[in-house]
């Protein structure tokens, strides 16, 4: 079995979904013949035809609104927003409609759509192309927000998102698109949503992350190991609804927690996790909950993005501080 990248795993999952379910449609800006600006939909239009894989005019509000209409009609739209920084015109549709169509109609109508959006920094991209705005949507009841951290996670979680009966916003970390390869079995097996994944077991502290920050956390854990510090690494995967039980169980064991994300610190999703730890895990904690995050600034252009983004060195420094609490 060949090793593939995360973006190839996305492509594989989309092909699998199109193959197994006639109701699945893929659309968005440049997803057709061009195969998406990151090639996530490469070859899909050739294989499944323009009826099912189609370029839209340039309008994100329309893309989201159309997906809602299709979904309410029983189709399974998988729409792409070209970058998460361009999702804002779609927020009205997502927040006022996708998230609540089921609730407003007491489940008479529902909204099984997936909105995929590349997200995060670290690829020297132009302005507005490196945003981490997952918390805007994680805050919205009725939506699921998912972010994979590896090719296998991407394949399994995307299939789960497409099969899920409710709307899912699926953020794809652009920095991981081509960074790592692993074997992915194209076995149509979904991974569970609404659950965190323990990617590495440890005793001394718990690193909680999603997207590209999982990669940095795993690197940090490896280096901490060499310093005789044993870090557990949790990939949150489904940000909302948030599976606290996995995080609480881990912190009950380690007593220390460091949350890592690229988004600005204040009001980031790490704040929610920290609050829940204070609520439900206070007496497990041997140290304050740490956060390694982006700064409370606008995401800088790329000359400063390396400074802005959390990396293994910052995670290690935070971990060592946590260990100072006996």
């Amino acid at each position: 079995m060949p090793e593939i990248t995360l973006v190839e795993a996305i492509n594989l999952a989309l092909a699998r979904a199109l193959e197994e379910d006639e109701r699945v449609l893929v659309f968005g800006e440049d997803v057709g013949h061009n195969g998406g600006v990151f090639r996530a939909t490469s070859g899909l239009q050739e294989r499944f035809g323009e009826r099912r894989v189609r370029d839209t005019p340039l309008n994100e509000a329309m893309i989201a609104g159309m997906a809602i209409g299709m979904a309410a009609q029983g189709l399974r739209p998988v729409a792409e927003i070209q970058f998460s920084g361009f999702i804002y015109p779609a927020l009205d549709q997502l927040i006022n409609h996708a998230a609540r169509l089921r609730n407003r109609t007491r489940s008479r109508l529902s909204c099984p759509l997936v909105l995929r959006a590349p997200a995060g920094g670290g690829i020297r991209a132009p302005e507005h192309h490196s945003e981490s705005n997952e918390v805007l949507l994680a805050h919205i009841p009725g939506l699921r927000v998912v972010m994979p951290s590896s090719p296998r996670q991407a394949y399994g979680l995307l299939l789960a998102a497409i099969r899920d009966p409710d709307p899912v916003v699926f953020f794809e970390p652009t920095r991981l698109y081509r960074l790592l390869r692993e074997t992915v079995d194209d076995d149509a097996a979904a991974l569970p949503l609404d659950t965190c994944f323990v990617l590495r077991e440890g005793r001394d502290l718990t690193l909680v992350a999603w997207g590209a920050s999982v990669h940095e956390s795993l690197l940090a854990a490896e280096q901490l190991e060499a310093q005789a510090i044993s870090a557990e690494v949790i990939d949150v995967a489904t940000l909302s609804p948030l599976d606290m039980s996995t995080i609480l169980a881990s912190v009950a064991k380690t007593g220390r927690c460091c949350i890592v994300h690229e988004a600005p610190r204040s009001g980031g999703w790490g704040a929610e996790i920290a609050a829940r730890l204070a609520d439900e895990g206070l007496f497990s904690l041997l140290a304050p909950v740490a956060r390694v995050t982006g700064y409370d600034t606008v995401m800088p252009l790329f000359r400063l993005e390396g400074t802005y983004l959390p990396d293994a060195a910052r995670i290690i420094a935070a971990a060592r501080r946590l260990l100072e609490y006996a």
């Binding site: 370029d55 409370d296 800088p300």
Partner: protein, 357 residues
């Protein structure tokens, strides 16, 4: 049943693709100094543009959106605007920016990942590059409304692409400009492609200019590779807006001879023959041939111009590359007019990390 409204959409062209003047060309066609100046500005843009692409290819610039083949649009916009008008471009209007006095090293800084590039030293009121498609258009109506509010005879000129005309902000801007009779001009650089999406896939409308009709504003299509036609429609629109006569949508027909950006590979989605055919009507060759034919331009002039532009561009590149890296704390320093007290500690923590942390 009766016809309650009837509309025509006009296309303006004076210098055709073969560099022949069509009848009733305006006085500009006989203005050697002015046309030579436009030509110089187009060549200057093209040489800068090619250098920026080369810098990206050699890892010294980030992703760059070239404007190859569309230089006439921005050059004429900058040429016809008054200094105190305000420009709100997309990311592809290098020609207009250079014409408005933005320095080459500033544009390089921006595309090189440094916010300081948008702090124009000489061009203080024009808006920065706008990446979120069409959002500059509603902002331009606000600029225009400010002019109207203060009774100033100034015009807000926004530029967007053909793809941008599918966005809500595009329609909203036109609609407001009509309802409020704003001194606003929207120039659509119709380069036939929105990344890989062809103009026809974007809209079933026969022309983009006709989108003005529903908004009740003036709309015109112009050959966007013909500087004489561009200047003439811009003059009409600017003059009308300045006199309180309202807004104009100008659809400038051109062609993106380059990739969408340096991150794109247009060969994936459009036939080479189409690009070659479009090259036959590109603006620089078109105007040069005309100037030649008039006896206003010769090989020596061309040589001298290219040398002068290359020297200027090389100087700008040197200044760009010699610009010291931004301080990490700069992230905090322009968020608000002054640093709010709650942000002093995080800023200090960042400063303590040092620039390479």
């Amino acid at each position: 049943m009766s016809v309650v409204a009837h509309f025509d959409v006009h296309r303006v062209q004076y210098l055709d693709a073969g560099s022949h003047l069509v009848a009733d060309a305006p006085a500009l066609a006989r203005d050697r100094a002015h046309l030579s100046a436009l030509y110089r500005a187009m060549v200057r843009t093209r040489i800068f543009d090619a250098k920026a692409v080369a810098l990206q290819r050699t890892g010294r610039l980030g992703t760059y959106a070239a404007c190859l083949g569309q230089e006439a649009i921005g050059v004429c916009i900058a040429d016809r605007m008054q200094t105190n008008d305000v420009l709100l471009p997309s990311y592809r209007e290098t020609a207009a920016y250079l014409g408005r006095g933005v320095r080459m090293e500033e544009l390089l800084l921006y595309w090189g990942g440094d916010e300081r590039g948008m702090d124009f030293a000489d061009d203080r009121e024009d808006f920065p590059i706008c990446v979120p498609i069409a959002t500059q258009l509603t902002q331009a109506t606000g600029v225009a409304a400010a002019f109207a509010y203060r009774s100033e005879a100034r015009v807000a000129v926004a530029v967007c692409g053909d793809g941008a005309t599918s966005q809500g902000d595009f329609y909203a801007a036109l609609n407001l400009a009509g309802a409020w009779t704003l001194p606003f001009i929207c120039v659509v650089n119709n380069n036939q492609w929105a990344i890989s999406v062809a103009r026809k896939a974007q809209s079933a409308a026969q022309t983009l200019a006709q989108k003005a009709i529903a908004a009740g504003i003036h709309g015109v299509q112009v050959d966007g590779n013909d500087p004489i036609a561009l200047c003439s429609v811009l003059d009409v629109a600017l003059d009308r807006a300045r006199r309180g006569g309202g807004a104009t949508l100008i659809e400038a027909l051109s062609y993106r001879l380059c990739d969408h950006t340096t991150a794109d590979d247009a060969a994936r989605y459009r036939p080479l023959e189409e690009v070659e055919a479009a090259r036959q009507s590109e603006p620089v060759v078109r105007l040069r041939r005309y100037l030649h034919a008039q006896g206003w331009w010769n090989a020596d002039d061309e040589e001298a111009l290219k040398n002068a532009c290359s020297t200027e561009v090389d100087g700008a590149v040197e200044r760009y590359l010699a610009t010291p890296a931004p301080e990490p704390t700069a992230m905090f320093d322009h968020l608000y007019a002054s640093l709010p007290a709650p942000l002093q500690a995080p800023r200090a923590a960042l400063a303590a990390r040092g620039s390479d942390a």
